[in-house]
Subunit: 415 residues, 2 copies
């Protein structure tokens, strides 16, 4: 047996005892962890600097990897805020007595051992560990090699917090970063209950293909906003610009504007100026291209097929002009990643048809797609945004880190 | 594009319109289907006979494949009973207004397109189609080749019922039975939302390995009953014998008796007689072997390692004697498939420790594991018993054929 499998086994064993502890006791671990992060700020920043220095000066990952005093403070606060959320385990979902007298109760229980594969961002290490400890789950973390020093010291602090309250350090296991070990994790059906990949599309594809363990995909967001004929155009400009520029690097940012042809020219002329001020590159279909060329939009290109269904993650978007709403819905259905979709409209019937027909984790009427987020939804820190339909859809937060268990209590009932 | 993918596309399209129909209208399809099954009994039996005749006279699948007047009546009644269950879609799970005025509602919606891969039993065709139509889902069925004639006429009747009420027949698609097409189904991520394998361990392993579509495993049941030192032995005998012999071919039947050493000899002498009357073969560990040999139990063999964790699906079981409850729990944890586990005990503290520590979909105190069943639990017909932890655990019935959708209604909110 490899040493990794042996550690998985210890983690599985530790998980079975964790489920028996009180939520109050587990919260004390979180309080200590927040304190330890604050006390060890200088040391964490030093280790983090080693990771950051190893990257080229202009490497795009540098900012995602970098920790600062401010980011560490936010991380410690995030741990404390997880303590405030209700314990998702131990809830009674149903309770009934069958005609034969068997008392049948369905309760929520921790999932067991959660595996998380993630890339550079070291805040994931702390967020995920805090959510798992709060909900009574053990966790196996497989972080990126470029965050090695940072993750090592963070997990060391997590272990100190666990030990301080008599918990086993096996509950949070940081795996070695060798790529081959990812396969060990993905095939460990006896030890891992669920795997959550957080990162690039390539990572998610690999997990989908190789994993024998059930998976929650927290996938890419190809998000559309449809500007209907009846839209309040000032509102539409506001929503579309916000959805694009407020944080282009995240999954709930806008990728494609779909616009009704009857108001397309007017809308595009209005949206051009704010988009230009953020230097947003626009990949426009023929109709949109014509209008934007007329106003001499400077960052303009003709869209090709692959510009639809493309997740830009940058100051860029594509535009599609449609003849009617069915065409808008068809376009979204063909290119959406089923994350977040929006309509701007003043027509209630039209909006409600859109909301019920478009198949996505979150659908909006007269609001920005940027709201799809555990914190915004009042669910607390999230493990990711699920774009698949089983178990958790949309923000995958503390409340979904549980499964169900049926408990039957009888007096000798047989069938 | 293959003709199968083209059909998947039509099924996906039909599913999007089904979600908009009323539960009442969909129920009319079920009423017509039950009627059509009753009206066409002779014809169904004739087609079924073709399938049955193709199997050797002593083929073990014959009985599972065979339909009778009585079984068809039960099938029609089962369709009618699905009509009585509440529509799982359209339920409001949460509703709140965020501080910025955005009204956020989480509702249940149909999964979309459900793929089911199953083997001989033709009742699955009707049960699954009825559950999917009731809940607003389209379904792709991939049945076994040995049920080809039966499944073809049953799906023909389903299509007649759909057409009668103006629904598209694309909603229920019976795939060709070539084995290669299973891969087409398992990789159709753009068209199928969830795949449920129903059948042998080999089928489930293949699906787990090959599927790119999220899967609900309805796996094997390796079920234990632990007879504790404090057990009422008459009750224990009753429960254990029922769990073994009432229907050995199903997943919730008993596979291994774990018994405390202090009462093992007495319990085994008591259980030997009823077990003998059902000719139950017993694979006993050394301690149990000694006792059962003393009473000349006729169907006795020494257990080897592989007799633990073995799903017998027959009049056979294994027995393990343990020194204390931790050892019992350890044995169950090592060999259980996490389906259904029971303890017989008169000690409440001991029983509650067992119920909370043993990790399984269903755990019982002083009752038979045979109760793990959608019908018994009052959930109606089931798609299978899920032995994994995501989305549905235990009986996977109508109520779980939905996912969630977040709907945000604003007045121009941005972030």
């Amino acid at each position: 047996m490899s040493s990794i499998i042996a550690q998985f086994q210890r983690t599985r064993f530790a998980a079975s005892s964790l489920a028996m502890t009180s939520g109050e006791l587990r919260n004390r671990v979180l309080a200590s962890l927040a304190e330890l992060i604050r006390e060890n700020t200088a040391k964490i920043l030093q280790e983090n600097q080693e990771d950051v220095d190893a990257l080229a000066f202009d490497h795009p990952m540098r900012d995602r990897l970098l920790l600062t005093q401010e980011r560490l403070d936010a991380l410690a606060s995030s741990v404390l805020s997880v303590m405030q959320l209700p314990d998702p385990a131990g809830q009674v979902l149903s309770n009934k007595t069958l005609p034969n007298g068997l008392e049948l109760t369905k309760i929520t229980v921790p999932l067991g051992v959660v595996g998380v594969i993630f890339e550079s961002r070291p805040n994931v290490t702390i967020d995920v560990a805090a959510l798992c400890i709060r909900s009574g789950n053990a966790v196996v973390l497989r972080g990126g090699s470029d965050a090695f020093h940072t993750n090592t010291i963070l997990v060391h602090l997590i272990h100190l917090a666990l030990e301080k309250h008599g918990f086993s350090t096996d509950l949070v296991y940081l795996m070695p970063t060798d790529r081959a070990h990812v396969t060990t994790l993905l095939t460990a059906v006896n030890y891992i209950d669920v795997i959550i990949p957080r990162g690039s599309e390539a990572l998610i594809q690999r997990v989908r293909k190789e994993s024998l363990v059930p998976t929650i995909e927290t996938g890419a967001g190809v998000c559309h906003t449809y500007v209907a004929a009846s839209a309040d155009l000032a509102m539409a400009v506001n929503i579309v610009v916000n959805a694009k520029v407020s944080r282009p690097s995240v999954c709930n940012s806008l990728d494609t504007i779909v616009v009704h042809q009857s108001i397309a020219a007017e809308f595009l002329r209005l949206v051009a100026s704010p988009m230009q001020s953020y230097s947003v590159k626009i990949y426009a279909d023929d109709a949109a291209f014509e209008t934007l060329a007329q106003v001499s939009y400077p960052y303009l290109e003709k869209a090709v097929e692959s510009d639809f269904g493309r997740e830009f993650l940058d100051f860029a978007c594509s535009i599609k002009v449609v003849n009617d709403m069915p065409k808008a819905i068809e376009h979204i259905s063909n290119y959406s990643s089923r994350h977040s979709e929006a309509i701007v409209s003043s027509d209630e019937a039209e909006a409600k048809f859109f909301l019920s027909t478009v198949d996505a984790a979150a659908v909006y009427w007269n609001a920005s797609t940027r709201f799809t987020d555990g914190g915004e939804f009042g669910l607390g820190a999230e493990i990711g945004i699920s774009t698949q339909k089983l178990h958790a859809r949309g923000p995958f937060a503390l409340e979904k880190l549980v499964t169900e268990k049926w408990i039957g209590i009888g007096q000798g009932q047989i069938r």
